[in-house]
Amino acid sequence: MQVSMTVNGSEVSGDVEPRTLLVHFIRENLRLTGTHVGCETSYCGACTIHVDGTPVKSCTMLAVQANGANITTVEGLADGDNLHPVQEGFWERHGLQCGFCTPGMIMSASALLAENDNPSEDEIRHGIEGNLCRCTGYHNIVRSIEYAAAKMRGEEPAPPDWTQDFEGATA
C-alpha cells in the first residue's frame, strides 16, 4: 500500500505491506535510525516519536495508520544546530549512558515539557513511565528534564548534584 506522511518537515512516501510497523518504515525505508526498537509489547518506549504532536510508540502503530500524519522523530527535534533544551539537558546532566533509550526518552520528555514547563519531580517521574532505561536508574534523566524545564522557563537550571570531593573523603 502507498503511504505518505510528513516526517521532520519533509514529505515522504513509500510502498509498504499493511503489516509494516511504523517504526520499521521509519528505520528501514526512511533510514532514520534514531528511533529504536527495544521490545515488542509497547513497554520500553525506545520507539517513541511524536505523531501530530503527541508522543506515541511507533512499534505499536502500523505504517498505514500514519498515512497523512505529521511525524517528528528525534532527528527532527533540534532546530538546526541548536539542540532542543531536553537534548541539552541530557548532555549537561548525564541523562544517558548507553544511549539506546535516549531518543524515546527525549521525545517523551519534550512532549511532557511542551504541556507543562514546570513539572514537579513526581510529575516527571510518572510522565516518563512509558520509557524504560536500564542504565541510569532515572536519577540523572529526571535532573536532565528539570534542567530543560528551567531553560524553557528562561531560568537558570539548578546546579548538578553529583558527589563532589570533600574534606575528609580520604580518611
Partner: protein, 288 residues
C-alpha cells in the same frame, strides 16, 4: 515483532466498516491498536483482515448529553482522563483512564477499545461496570444497547458479535448525592501498570444513608465483575468507615477468584475487599 500478513482497510464511514466486517468473517476492528498490535506482533492473534476505523469521522468526541456522557469509539484514554465532563459526571472512569498504561499508551489507546478488549486486569472495564454504563454496538444489521452488566463475558471476551463495533459507551451522569471512584494495586506496587486487583465504586447518598451502590472488581477473576454482595450490604447503612469495612468483607462473594503471577486466591480475595473499601470510601467522600 513481525506480524503475519493481513489485509487492511481504513473505511471512511461507519457503514463501510460494518460492511467490511460483515463480509469478512474473522476480520478484526482496530481503533488505537494498543492491544491488538502487540498480539499480532507476537503472532498470538492473526486476523486475515484488519478494519481500521481510525479514520471514520464522528467517533472521537465526548458528548455531555442528557443524563449520560457518551464516549465515542475513537476517544483516547488521554481524552477520557482529562475530560471535565467525565471527571465530574463519571469520576471513576476518568480515574481509571488516568491509571491506564502510560502516557504514550493513553495517547493511542481508546476507552472503547479497552472495554471491547475486556482484559481481566484492565482499569476502565471495572469503572464502566460500576457506573452502570451502556455499550452501544452497531452492525450492518442495526444498533443494539448492551448493559455493562451483560457486556463482559469472559477473559478477553465481550458480548460483541464479530460483526459489531462498539461505537459508543454511555455512562450515566452522577446526579446530586452520587459519587464514584476507582483505585487499584498495580503490578509494580502503587498504582503502576496493570491491576493486580482493583475496584470501582459508585454510591448515592440520600439523607445520610446509602441509597444505591455498585462496586466492580478488576484483576481478581476472569473478567470485571460486580461485587453485588458488598453493594447490597452497604445500601441502607450510613456509609461510615465501619459500614464500608463490613460491606467490603463480602467483595469476593460469588466471584471466581483466580490465581496468577501476581497473587494467590487468598491474596486476591483480600485485595478485592481492600480495594472495594478504598473505592467505596472515595466514592462516598465524592458523593458529598
Amino acid at each position: 515483532m513481525y506480524p503475519r500478513s493481513f489485509e487492511y482497510v481504513a473505511p471512511s464511514s461507519l457503514d463501510e466498516a460494518l460492511a467490511a466486517l460483515n463480509d469478512h468473517p474473522g476480520a478484526k476492528v482496530m481503533t488505537g491498536g494498543m492491544s491488538l498490535i502487540p498480539l499480532m506482533k507476537l503472532r498470538l492473534f492473526s486476523p486475515p483482515l484488519v478494519v481500521d476505523i481510525g479514520r471514520v469521522p464522528g467517533l472521537d468526541s465526548i458528548a455531555d448529553g442528557n443524563g449520560h456522557i457518551a464516549i465515542g469509539a475513537l476517544v483516547r484514554h488521554a481524552a477520557t482522563a482529562s475530560s471535565d465532563a467525565v471527571a465530574s459526571g463519571a469520576a471513576a472512569l476518568a480515574q481509571a483512564a488516568r491509571l491506564t498504561g502510560d502516557v504514550q499508551v493513553r495517547n493511542r489507546g481508546t476507552t472503547c477499545g479497552a472495554l471491547a478488549h475486556a482484559d481481566v486486569a484492565a482499569d476502565q472495564p471495572a469503572a464502566a461496570l460500576a457506573l452502570g454504563a451502556t455499550m452501544v454496538a452497531r452492525s450492518a444489521g442495526g444498533e443494539r444497547e448492551i448493559a455493562a452488566d451483560d457486556f463482559f463475558v469472559d477473559a478477553l471476551t465481550s458480548a460483541l458479535e464479530p460483526n459489531e463495533i462498539l461505537v459508543e459507551v454511555r455512562v450515566p451522569k452522577a446526579g446530586a448525592g452520587t459519587g464514584s471512584a476507582y483505585d487499584k494495586l498495580g503490578r509494580r506496587g502503587g498504582r503502576s501498570d496493570y491491576a493486580v486487583a482493583g475496584a470501582a465504586a459508585m454510591v448515592t447518598m440520600d439523607g445520610g444513608s446509602v441509597s444505591a451502590a455498585r462496586v466492580a472488581l478488576t484483576g481478581v477473576g476472569t473478567k470485571p465483575t460486580l461485587a453485588t454482595a458488598t453493594a447490597d450490604a452497604l445500601v441502607g447503612t450510613d456509609g461510615s468507615a465501619d459500614a464500608i469495612k463490613a460491606a467490603a468483607q463480602h467483595a469476593a462473594e460469588g466471584v471466581t477468584v483466580l490465581e496468577d503471577l501476581y497473587g494467590s486466591v487468598e491474596y486476591k480475595t483480600h485485595l478485592a475487599q481492600v480495594y472495594a473499601a478504598r473505592a467505596l470510601e472515595a466514592a462516598i467522600a465524592a458523593a458529598g
